[in-house]
Structures are given as structure tokens and as C-alpha cells.
Symmetry: C2
Subunit: 355 residues, 2 copies
DNA sequence: GTGTATAATGTAAACGTTTACAGTCATACC
DNA sequence: GGTATGACTGTAAACGTTTACATTATACAC
């Protein structure tokens, strides 16, 4: 039916959308009454309400959200800042975020930092303006960004941090995360128990603080066991498959080749496994591999990948609940971090060392 | 510094943000001049411009985007509707979408349908309102949604369809996609050439049209080869790993067990591979597997997964370019679909059948 | 110096809501 | 029948911009 309107090059139809005025005129009431009908129906008499509702139906009126946002000073939008939407772990967190947000009528505006600190500054800029009613931070932002976030220059936006980013917690933001360090200690302890002595660690990025606690846990556990970490046993995998492949190749060439590799996330563990098998080595007989996050692919790797399960969706839900609470009450919540439980999921990618 | 403002339960600081009026007062000009300084600096004399800019700096003014959106009737937001942000293929498409959008100052509002047709209706609702300046559709929407989209009830929003959704193209929307059917024919022809005769197909969902063309291609190729498709050789995998595992288990129990399984996307192919190996069968010796999309995990599967590469990021870029073109010019672009090239990527998950 | 063209700036309306306040009207009570 | 009360509705201001139009200042030619 609208095919003609769709002819290439033709002006798009731009019939004026109906406004509250049109409804008011048709129902023969003031615009205030229409507004009340929409927002607080109990405050208008049934008979007039019916008239107005009929007019709304007839005109097909729906309030202009732009005008509402403007007038109310609320956007009903939450900004989510994360390193990469591609990571299955963050995908899962976002599922929780989204469900809770949608249930309260909020939309999600997603901002990938793509491991790029430049864009973190842009986040700061967005924060100053009132593009969103609140922010979920799943990524570390540049110092400047942090400064802007915590400045009192403007209306201070509600922010909740998901996962663990130390610098932001220090800035007093509430957060929800597992105890990354404790989990990493468990992982390393477990490998040590199996008899591994040469354990390597593939971390994320130098600049990113995302996997810092996990690295600390690894180091602490090794230290506690009286083992020294050789030069070249801790390498960066850039949080990507290709980065992890290169990192693993380095590890396999090491003069003291590790018997176990602990990857700071599953994405890298998947690359790591591939590199090991491509080098003609067997998992776990030659090298054990363990990841972090327990993404949905971990269980179907060959062999199935051991990992640390985070309650990703829960984290998302709780983060959003705290954030919305802060937004709706106008009060900042307790900044005490919420620690959610993790779980070591043991699968067949790990075994005692053979030598 | 703002630690006190952050004490739990305490009112959040809400210092009034500076408006254009504050700047005007300080610079001793009218608000119109300030506005011009910001939007069209050449139209104000250098001396006054300097005064205004100093005032802007001093006050820390930045225009209220809500007011701008309201006044201009533009949100600088593009809505993206897709089945699941978790799928690595869509992730890649979104990378292209995002890059182009950001370059022009647009943000992305993401809407997952989660294979849920209910939410598709909500999309319709969002469309009628002016939440976004345009829409990218990567998912099929319910009939009602389509109706709303194409209705002339209100200002018709620019829409571009990514990937292939027949019903929407029929509605006259421009689209960018590969030739899914031709690609699926190539895949099936290739398997036939290798000598396979018992070829199964795992499709997406009954309701979703996303993989319909691929299924058609498979059927056409089989038909052309004079082969009949036995009952139970075409099963639904729900586009998920677990769905594909169940589907594969069904296939493996079939009285005429397929020697090759063609999965409508890589996510399902990964689940399929896992199910085959779990059943104690070898890939490709016992069963060949081929996927679709060539996501980043395909190459690191064991064995590496053959697939059909789509230029996912390109698709995203082109979709967004068309959409922004339509938005900025106010004219709908040529509705003729843009077909981008695909490529059969052969890896070790496929071999001739042994029997 | 006058006149004219043009540049620079100011005035004020408009965008579509929400909402404080004022007004109207019906009801109930005396 | 007057009055108080409360329910309902209307009036108009406000939110922070942008922009058409009006006004004033400047530059330039004679």
C-alpha cells in the first residue's frame, strides 16, 4: 500500500505526527486533561476519560518521547560501556542488564571501548551531557574519564560498576563482581595440587585493569607455594583469540615450557588450545589449559575447557537493579561492593603433568 | 573529592547544569548569538565569538542534547533490531554498523528480539514514536510489526534491512546481504561432488525467516541432483548450541544416518560437531560438517570448520551508509537489494564419505 | 555626509510535554 | 438557599534549544 511512497528518490512521506493538541481538540478538553489521562488516569472523571481515550484511539496519538524526555529531564536510557560486545561473557552480562532495564522501561545504549582509551574520553563527554539517566561500566576508562565521572561539575550521574575495576571502586562507585583474585588463587592452587610447577599465565592487556586481579591471584598462589615465575611465563593475549595464539606460541617455545596455562578469559583459552594442538601437542597430556568466565563455548571445546564460572546474568541483573534503584530514588546506594559467588568448573582440559 | 557526595543514602548533588542563558548573560550577548557560536561560528563576528567562547569555557557549558533532540526532532540514535547480540556473526555486523554510525555522530540503540515475536511488536511501537532517526533490521519482525513499519500513519522512518529477510524486502525496504540461496547451493553441490548422498540440514527456527533461503538452496541442490530428502534429515536447531546438539543426536539416530550435516549457521555447527564427537564418531571420517557465517571460532574448531564467509563488517557498514544517506537526504534510497559476495571457506571438517 | 548593501545581533516564537495554580462545578451539609 | 468541601478541569508557564524575522551596526561607494 505504501509502495508508492517508497519509490526510489521520492520524498519520504512526512505527515505531521499527531500531538496532544490534536487529541485535546477532538475530545474538546484542554491539553492538560489529555496529559492527565495518559499519566494519571484516576485524576480525571470517567466520562471525560472515555472521550479522551476515544480521541487518542481515533488519532493514533502517542506521546512524543523526545518532548517527554526534554520536559522530564529523563531519557529512560542507560548507557553501557564495555570493551567488546563480541565477548560471550559480556553478552551474558548484558542479557541480565537488558532484562531488568526493559522491565522498567529503560533502553540500553551500548558503547564499546574496543580496548581504545580514546573512546573512553568520549564517554566522559557523554556523561557530562544528559544522554543517559545512568551508566553501567564494564570496562576501565581512562583517567580523564574517571575524573569527569567523579567531578561535581555537573549533575552527578548514577554509575554502577560491573565486574571488577579497582580504580573505579576506589572512586567510590558501587560494584557487583566475583572475587577475581580468590578465584585465580583457587585455579592456581588446583593446578599446583595436581603437581604442576611450571604454570604460565596469559593476561589481557597491559593497559586494561580488567584481568589485573586474576593475575595477582596467580602470582600470590605461586608465591605462597614457594615457586618463582620465570621470565616469559606471563604474557599478554590482548583478550583475543589471535592474541592468545601468539602468546601461546611464545610460551611453547620457552626453554622451560609450562605444563599448564592459565588464561585470564575463555576467549583466550580457546585460542590457546588451538595453538597447542596446532603445535602437535596434546591437551591435557602435554599441556593443561584453564580459562575464566565459563562462556557457553567452554563446554563444547575439544577437550572441554575447565574454567571459572561467573554468574554473568546475575551480575548484570544486580548491577541494573542497583543502578535503577539509585536513579529512581535519587540517592546513591551503598558503595560497598557486592561479591557474587564463582565456581571452579573442572573439565577434561586439565590433568596432572606427565614428566 | 566527591566522596562526601557519595555517602550511602545521601542526596546526590544536583547542581543545576549551565544553560545557554548563563553563557549569554556572562558574555553579554543574546542566547541566539550563543547558539550561532556553537552551531555556525562563521556567522558571528570574531570579537564576540571570542567573548562567547570564553564564557562557554568558564561556565563549562555544553548544549543539552535532550533539548536539541526535542527542538530539532532528531535523536542521533539508530535502532538496531537483531535476534541476539550474542551471535559472533551479528557482533561483526554491528562492528561495521557502529563504526559508520559513530563517524557521523550517531549512537546505536540495540534491541534483541531473542527469537521472541512479542518484542517485535514493541519494535513497531518504538517505530511509531520518534525514539530513533532510523532502524536497522537484522531480524524478522512479526506481521504486526511489519504492518506498523510500512503504515503511513505517521512519519515513515528510514529502515534498512541487513542480511536477508524476504518478507521485509517484499515490503520494499532496501537491504544488503549475500545471496544466501546461491551460497547454500554451492555448499550442497560441493558435498555432492565429494560423493555425499545422505546430506542433512539443520535450520534455525520454524518461525524465523533468517535461514529460510539457505534451506531452500539446500533443497534445490538436492532436487537438482535427483536426490530425495528423507524424513528427519531436516531438523531445527533453534540457532543455539544446545538446540543443535539435540538436533544432531536425532540425526545420528536416523536409520539412514547422514554422512554430511549442513548447519544454517556456525553456532549450530559448533554444537553439531560436539554432539558428533561425543557420540564417539570422527569428523570428517564418519560425518562431515559445514557451517555458515565463518565466525571467528570456525577456524579454531577441532577440526577447523568449513563455512561460508559473509563479509559481515562490510554488510554492517553498507547498511549504515544507506540508512544514514536516507536520513540525511530525507529521501528513500533505491530499494534494489545490494548483494555482497560470499566465499566458501574449506577446512578440514569436510571429506568424502567413506562407505 | 548621505545612501545603500551587507554583516551582526537581538527578539520572540516555536517545538510537545508536564504541572503549579486558579477556576468551575457539583455535592453535602447546615 | 447559602456555604464549605472536594473533585474535576482549564490556564499558562516552564523546560533549553533553534531560527525566522526585525533591528541595528558596519563598510563602502559616491
Amino acid at each position: 500500500m505504501s509502495q508508492t511512497a517508497n519509490t526510489p528518490g521520492k520524498k519520504v512521506t512526512t505527515k505531521q505526527p499527531v500531538s496532544i493538541k490534536d487529541v485535546a481538540r477532538l475530545a474538546e478538553v484542554s491539553i492538560a486533561t489529555v496529559s492527565r489521562c495518559v499519566n494519571d488516569p484516576d485524576r480525571v472523571r470517567a466520562s471525560t476519560r472515555n472521550r479522551v481515550e476515544a480521541a487518542i484511539l481515533q488519532t493514533g496519538y502517542s506521546p512524543n518521547p523526545l518532548a517527554q524526555s526534554f520536559r522530564r529531564g529523563k531519557t529512560k536510557v542507560i548507557m553501557v560501556v564495555l570493551p567488546s560486545v563480541g565477548d560471550p561473557f559480556f553478552t551474558e552480562v548484558m542479557k541480565g542488564l537488558r532484562e531488568v532495564a526493559n522491565a522498567s522501561g529503560y533502553s540500553l545504549l551500548i558503547n564499546e571501548t574496543q580496548f581504545n582509551t580514546m573512546t573512553a574520553d568520549e564517554i566522559g563527554a557523554m556523561v557530562v551531557s544528559r544522554q543517559a539517566d545512568g551508566i553501567v561500566l564494564l570496562a576501565s576508562v581512562s583517567p580523564f574519564g574517571t575524573a569527569v565521572l567523579s567531578s561535581d561539575n555537573n549533575r552527578r550521574l548514577p554509575v554502577v560498576v560491573g565486574c571488577e575495576i579497582v580504580s573505579l571502586q576506589a572512586a567510590g562507585y558501587p560494584s557487583v563482581h566475583i572475587d577475581n583474585q580468590a578465584a585465580a588463587i583457587e585455579v592456581t592452587d588446583y593446578l599446583l595440587e595436581l603437581g604442576h610447577r611450571r604454570i604460565a599465565f596469559i593476561h589481557g592487556q597491559e593497559s586494561s585493569l580488567l584481568t589485573k586481579d586474576r593475575e595477582d591471584g596467580y602470582r600470590l598462589s605461586m608465591l605462597a607455594a614457594g615457586l618463582s615465575i620465570e621470565d616469559g611465563w606471563v604474557v599478554g593475549g590482548n583478550l583475543t583469540i589471535t592474541g592468545a595464539i601468539q602468546a601461546t606460541q611464545k610460551l611453547l617455545r620457552h626453554r622451560h615450557r609450562p605444563t599448564a596455562i592459565f588464561c585470564a578469559n575463555d576467549e583466550m583459552a580457546m585460542g590457546c588450545m588451538h595453538a597447542i594442538k596446532s603445535a602437535g601437542l596434546k591437551i591435557p597430556q602435554d599441556v593443561s589449559v584453564i580459562g575464566f568466565d565459563d562462556v557457553r563455548y567452554a563446554a563444547i571445546m575439544d577437550p572441554p575447557l575447565s574454567s571459572v564460572r561467573q554468574p554473568a546474568k546475575d551480575i548484570g541483573e544486580q548491577v541494573m537493579l542497583r543502578l535503577l534503584g539509585e536513579i529512581e530514588t535519587g540517592r546513591s546506594t551503598d558503595a560497598e561492593p557486592v561479591i557474587v559467588p564463582h565456581e571452579l568448573v573442572l573439565r577434561r582440559s586439565v590433568a596432572p603433568p606427565v614428566d
